[in-house]
């Protein structure tokens, strides 16, 4: 049955039946132990107390307590089971619904707001889940319980038992009535919440427009309407809900009223024992429990039903992409394509494509050329089967495309869209996206090997970027370890060959110069603490604190910290909470209040005596984190700089025990007594590492390590470093390792960390790695510079011709001579078709186009 047509109970009836039976059993057993104490109550009063039998009293009390505890445990078990079942059902429901959604035709996504889809898939499904677990067990047991207690009451006194039931028929009519109104409002509420999600989503996605136009009020108005609508609905819903509760309670108190009236009368007349009356009262109260449960169940059933129907209606379309496996004996696709009188219309009247005919042998290359709006992209979408032609037929290897399974089509055709979508994740995730999809669907046995990935990455010209990403990564120690000797050798090479060229872009670690692009703490120690170490931790190091005091650095640093705090508070005081604006200060936006409290009391130049210990630490932290070259908020006094420089030498010699001469020349140190803050077991990775030429810095990027300095201007370093680094990497056989590391570079949300060109290269590599017999490219290289375009075109012409059928929408006419066949399109029709030489000779449209583009 199509997913969206399934009733809600389909999920419950078909799933986890064994667990549901166990749940039912647990509830029934629990039920027994809930009735049993009532019988004990009667016996305690009528037998034990009345006949004054203490031993019986003990026995009945113990049995009473035991039953109550057991009932509690059963109830607990039932709750846990219910929740497990409901979550399990939810998993299945969400997975199947998501699969269904992914296969819906494109027009669904054009019509439906993303926010609506998101909220349906997430919050709304969650709300149903709570109901699912007990959907079968709860009503069954409630009715059972009700019957058992009622039976017990009738067994005690038939008249009284029936009398106490008198109110229930009333309730059975009134409550569903109220509930129906409640449902209607609830339905509306779901719609409003969805629309609200869409509005918020839209504003977040179009935030550039919103902020660019200052349309805050406009957007607010859009939301306001929904907020107030939601308010009215919520209040009405609650009025109804509490109304139901009220009427329920009212009916409920009729019970004891009748019991006391009639039961009391009977007891006075001696027709009814006191024990029986007590048991009766208890039973009556217990009858209320299942009743309450039935009501709650009924409400949540109605609620779930409303939500469920709305979700299913939203997604109620026939899925288009069904990946059924191809027949085992079907031959592998070769890639010959034949289009016969293909037409494409939208809205019945607008003809976007008309009478498109062509024939392409397997392995041939076809170029689609024409003015913008001529239908090239539409044709490429039809060929990649993302759109369906309105008329005409398309066949592959002589078979009409409709005869092929979707799986064959997906595996056989690789497409690169004009504006490719890059997924959040690593470069590797994106490169292997298509191959992994085929692999998971069982359509491809193996993922591309490293060699093939590297070759493709190189072919599209992405290799230099991948290497750069690799160099910019901080490599985890265990991965870096085997390569460290080579990295240190590369460091030497860079120092020798590049120090002049990158002088403007890098600040080298020179023990005799002040590091303007390193924090003051690093400047004092001339070294780094390892991974996950913070300046804050450094402040707790007694040895370091004593050193600052001894060197008379603490007070100047404190004063400077106060200057930074004052300047930051005054310039950015009204911008709290904006990370970007705080990049010129060592202060974090969330710390602003704390520092403002200090600078309110004590101004720069005041005595520091009034500072409390934690305030001193705060100011010291600010000062030690100050990076002179980056933090423009204030300027480092020359006096402090000089003091830091002389303290550095003392620190290296006295505290760290380093021979400065050996450190900068690279001769081995006799022994370094590191400041032990972290565990001693892995000293080099987590504890202090001085900037000595033969020390690898674990907390720095590979690039920093090779350059042995701080990169100030990435773009400039790139230019100079890439040649030298590539050569050295190759020389030491590290290229593959670095590329592997580079492939793990995170491309950001939707590829935000990539340039337009990088995105296009990545998408092209992704399409190539799919290794399909047919490749469709829609202006695949439009964002690239000319030389890259040419190189990629040569790769396609040389490597793919004969193996892969290529259909490319081409906008650069100087490269089309490399194609076997050219279609010139205009206004949705083919105006010329033939080989490049033929068409040029004919001096027709293509001839005109080529010549006009040359001018």
């Amino acid at each position: 049955m199509q997913l969206t047509k399934r009733p809600l109970f389909y999920w419950i009836k078909k799933r986890y039946r064994a667990l549901q039976v166990v749940l039912l059993l647990v509830i029934v057993v629990g039920l027994f132990f809930r009735v049993y104490p009532l019988e004990m109550q009667r016996k305690i009063i009528n037998i034990a107390i009345n006949l004054k039998m203490v031993d019986k009293l003990y026995l009945y009390c113990a049995l009473y307590m035991g039953a109550v505890v057991t009932a509690g445990i059963m109830k607990y078990l039932a709750n846990v089971l219910e929740s497990v079942i409901s979550q399990k059902i939810l998993i299945g429901m969400r997975r199947e619904l998501y699969q269904h959604m992914l296969k819906l035709p494109l027009p669904f996504f054009h019509r439906t707001q993303t926010g609506t889809i998101t909220s349906a898939m997430t919050a709304e499904l969650n709300a149903i889940a709570a109901f699912l677990g007990g959907a079968l067990a709860v009503p069954i047991t409630s009715v059972l319980t009700f019957a058992v207690f009622l039976g017990f009451m009738i067994y005690l006194n038939p008249l009284l038992g029936l009398l106490s039931m008198i109110i229930y028929p009333f309730e059975l009519t009134v409550i569903p009535l109220l509930q129906r109104v409640h449902n209607r409002y609830n339905q509306k509420r779901v719609m409003v919440v969805r629309r609200m999600a869409s509005v918020v989503n839209e504003a977040a996605e179009g935030i550039h427009e919103v902020q660019g136009n200052g349309s805050f009020l406009l957007e607010q108005l859009k939301l306001d309407r929904l907020i107030y609508r939601l308010y009215t609905l919520a209040v009405r819903l609650d009025i109804l809900k509490f109304g139901i509760k009220f009427s329920n309670n009212l009916f409920q108190s009729f019970g004891p009223f009748i019991l006391f009236l009639v039961g009391g009368y009977l007891a006075i007349n001696g027709e009814f024992t006191i024990g029986a009356l007590v048991a009766f009262l208890s039973a009556y109260e217990k009858v209320y429990d299942p009743w309450k449960e039935v009501i709650i169940y009924y409400q949540s059933y109605q609620d779930a039903q409303v939500r469920y129907r709305q979700i299913m209606e939203l997604f109620d379309y026939q899925p288009q992409f069904l990946l059924e496996a191809p027949a085992a004996d079907s031959p592998p696709m070769k890639g010959a394509i034949e289009a016969e009188a293909i037409g494409y219309r939208v809205k019945e009247s607008i003809q976007l494509l008309d009478d498109i005919n062509f024939r392409l042998e397997a392995g041939q290359h076809l170029a689609l050329v024409g003015f913008s709006g001529s239908g090239k992209s539409t044709l490429s979408l039809i060929l990649s089967r993302l759109y369906q032609q309105s008329s005409g037929s398309l066949s592959i290897d002589g078979q009409p495309i409709e005869m092929l399974t979707q799986a064959e089509v997906v595996a056989g055709i690789s497409t690169m869209a004009q504006h490719p979508f890059i997924f959040t994740g690593t470069v590797r995730d994106n490169l292997l996206y298509a191959s992994t999809a085929l692999h998971l669907a069982g359509l491809k046995n193996e993922l591309p090997e490293q060699r093939e990935i590297f070759e493709t990455v190189t072919a599209v010209g992405l290799a230099p970027d991948v290497i750069r990403w690799g160099l910019r990564s901080t490599i985890p120690p265990q991965r870096a370890e085997p390569m460290i000797p080579s990295f240190l050798k590369m460091r030497r090479i860079v120092q020798q060959q590049l120090s002049k060229e990158v002088a403007q872009a890098v600040e080298f670690y020179d023990v005799n110069s002040f590091l303007r692009y390193s924090p003051l703490a690093v400047n004092i120690m001339f070294g780094n603490y390892g991974i996950a170490h913070t300046t804050k931790k450094l402040l707790t190091n007694q040895e370091f604190r004593t050193f600052l005091k001894d060197q008379r650095l603490e007070d100047p640093l404190l004063e400077f910290g106060l200057t930074i705090a004052a300047a930051t508070v005054s310039l950015l005081g009204s911008f709290s909470g904006d990370d970007f604006l705080f990049k010129g200060s060592p202060m974090r936006p969330d710390q602003l209040k704390n520092y403002a409290r200090i600078t309110d009391r004590i101004k720069p130049g005041d005595s520091l005596a009034g500072l409390k210990q934690n305030e001193r630490n705060r100011l010291l932290l600010l000062s030690l984190k100050f990076i002179p070259g980056l933090h423009k908020i204030t300027t480092l006094p020359k006096r402090l700089e000089t003091a830091i420089m002389s303290a550095r030498l003392r620190f290296l010699q006295d505290v760290a025990g380093i021979d400065i001469e050996r450190c900068s020349s690279g001769l081995p140190q006799s022994e370094i007594t590191a400041l032990a803050v972290e565990s001693e077991a892995v000293p080099a990775k987590t504890s202090f590492t001085p900037f000595c030429i033969n020390h690898y810095l674990y907390s720095r990027t590979l690039q920093d390590n090779i350059i042995f300095g701080t990169v100030i201007n990435r773009d400039l370093v790139r230019e100079h470093l890439s040649v030298v680094a590539e050569q050295a990497l190759r020389q030491y056989g590290l290229m593959d390792d670095i590329m592997e590391i580079g492939l793990d570079f995170h491309v950001g949300s939707k590829g935000d960390n990539l340039s337009g060109g990088q995105k296009q290269k990545l998408a092209l590599a992704r399409a190539l790695l799919k290794n399909s017999p047919i490749l469709i490219l829609d202006e695949a290289t439009a964002s690239l510079d000319n030389s890259s375009q040419t190189r990629i075109q040569h790769y396609i012409s040389n490597k793919l011709r004969g193996n892969t059928t290529v259909i490319a929408v081409v906008h650069r006419l100087d490269m089309i001579s490399e194609y076997d066949h050219i279609l010139v399109m205009k206004e949705g029709k083919i105006v010329e078709s033939g080989t490049y030489d033929d068409l040029i000779e004919r001096q027709g449209v293509l001839y005109e186009l080529v010549n006009s583009s040359r001018e």
Binding site: K632, N713, N786
Partner: protein
């Protein structure tokens, strides 16, 4: 004005006359002065200029270094503080020189308004000091001072038009004066 005097105050504190001789002169003040006198920011509220000075980043380049590489993502504008820069476009494999810029000149100003990939390169012909302003900084500041938006956008467009005129003139001059073939083809 309070922002200005305060920030200046903190700068004054730390840089006495003797100190300002070495490289620790207050950067915020000198960048502020540079921006205040530039064509883009002159006459704007000083608090705004101050914020731009605070968020701008100084960059130094050696002779021959590229400040802008055609095809890279455009995310910042440049103002030349010292030295000279050549603007060129790579066309069909050859670099075509378009303009030479000097101290005080702005370039890449469109990056403040929109996301795109650089359509030209900028190369340092001498040692160069430049101040760069990121688009994000521009956006953040205008979020706070939206009244300045119209003026700044207008000035950026004016800058762009000026650049377009001078680059076109430069190319036309070259075609008309130097290239006889081109001259022939124009007639």
């Amino acid at each position: 004005m309070t922002i200005l005097s305060n920030a200046k105050g903190s700068c004054m504190n730390s840089s006495t006359a003797a100190e300002s001789e070495n490289n620790n002169i207050c950067r915020l003040t000198s960048d502020f002065e540079l921006l205040r006198q530039s064509s883009l920011f002159s006459g704007l509220h000083l608090d705004v200029v101050k914020l731009f000075a605070y968020l701008s980043v100084r960059r130094a380049y050696g002779q021959g270094d590229r400040l802008i590489e055609q095809g890279d993502q455009a995310d910042r504008a440049f103002i030349l503080n010292d030295g000279a820069v050549e603007i060129s476009i790579s066309h069909k494999g050859t670099d075509v020189l378009l303009q030479r810029l000097h101290k005080g000149d702005f370039f890449g100003e469109l990056a403040l308004l929109a996301q795109f990939d650089w359509f030209f390169s900028a190369r340092a012909v001498t040692e160069v000091q430049a101040l760069t302003i990121e688009r994000k900084a521009f956006q953040k500041i205008l979020e706070k001072y939206p009244d300045h938006k119209d003026v700044l956008i207008e000035r950026i467009i004016q800058l762009r038009v000026e650049r377009l005129i001078s680059q076109t003139t430069f190319m036309l001059d070259r075609i008309v004066l130097n290239d006889a073939d081109a001259k022939a083809s124009l007639i």
